[in-house]
């Protein structure tokens, strides 16, 4: 997925690993941000594809730490927004 020449998002599979009668293929997602004066790459694991006897299943990799951090940030932003709105309301009625 690409947003012009600045932002792109791609999913890549790594080399398959054979172990204990199973073939495991790791999958990673990368976000690229590139400008003429700089760039950013964020690469994260997403899932593993497990091939067991011809049947392929996808096991997602959950980043618990990141989810907790984003939930905290989102909750804090929401709380501040609500508090700000309530404060504005009470100032309006007070006037």
């Amino acid at each position: 997925m690409q947003l012009g020449n600045i932002l792109s998002w791609e999913t890549r599979e790594g080399p398959a690993i054979n172990a204990h009668g199973r073939t495991v293929t790791p999958v990673a997602q990368a976000l690229h941000l590139h400008t003429p004066f700089g760039g950013l790459v964020w690469n994260r694991p997403v899932a593993v594809l497990v091939d067991e006897g011809g049947m392929v299943t996808r096991q997602p990799i959950v980043d618990v730490t990141r989810i907790a951090l984003w939930a905290m940030a989102g909750g804090a932003a929401l709380a501040l927004m609500i508090t700000g709105l309530l404060g504005r309301g009470s100032r309006a009625t007070g006037e």
């Binding site: 791609e10 890549r12 599979e13 790594g14 080399p15 690993i17 172990a19 204990h20 199973r22 495991v24 790791p26 999958v27 990673a28 990368a30 690229h32 590139h34 003429p36 004066f37 700089g38 760039g39 950013l40 790459v41 964020w42 690469n43 994260r44 694991p45 593993v48 497990v50 067991e52 096991q59 997602p60 990799i61 959950v62 980043d63 618990v64 730490t65 990141r66 907790a68 951090l69 905290m72 940030a73 804090a76 709380a79 501040l80 508090t83 700000g84 404060g87 009470s90 100032r91 007070g94």
Partner: protein, 153 residues
Amino acid sequence: MADHIELIVEKFPSQQEANALLARLYDVVEPDMVYGEPVTQGEYTVITAREVTMALGVGYGGGGGVSPSGQNGETAESMEKEEESGGQSAGYGGGGGGGGTATGRPVAVIEIGPSGVRVEPIVDPTKIAVAMFTTLGTMGVMLLKMVRQARAI
């Protein structure tokens, strides 16, 4: 004049060199950077998974100018030089800089064993605790400000 401009261009790094440096950044995109080498011990094989972030920035700038001859306060030596170069003097300057950062964080461990494949997430309690206290502290300060403003009104 053309010689001076050519000298300016030669002194400064080119956009192509900057692009080549930025292109090295995308070596991080490969899945090999995210997944570690599998380690086998007995009946189990373990693969680590991590999140990798890399950022890089470069900047440069420069300028030059040509001043006509006949300006006040010039020394005899500088006036002689100006006459040799056709009555003009030129100057140039420039600079550049860059910076970057790279971070990695373990996310999960993939365990392949006789019973199947298991993905075990890695939780960083230190990071969560630091973020939580920072968030609570910031919220507390902002709430205190709002309460004081409300009382002042």
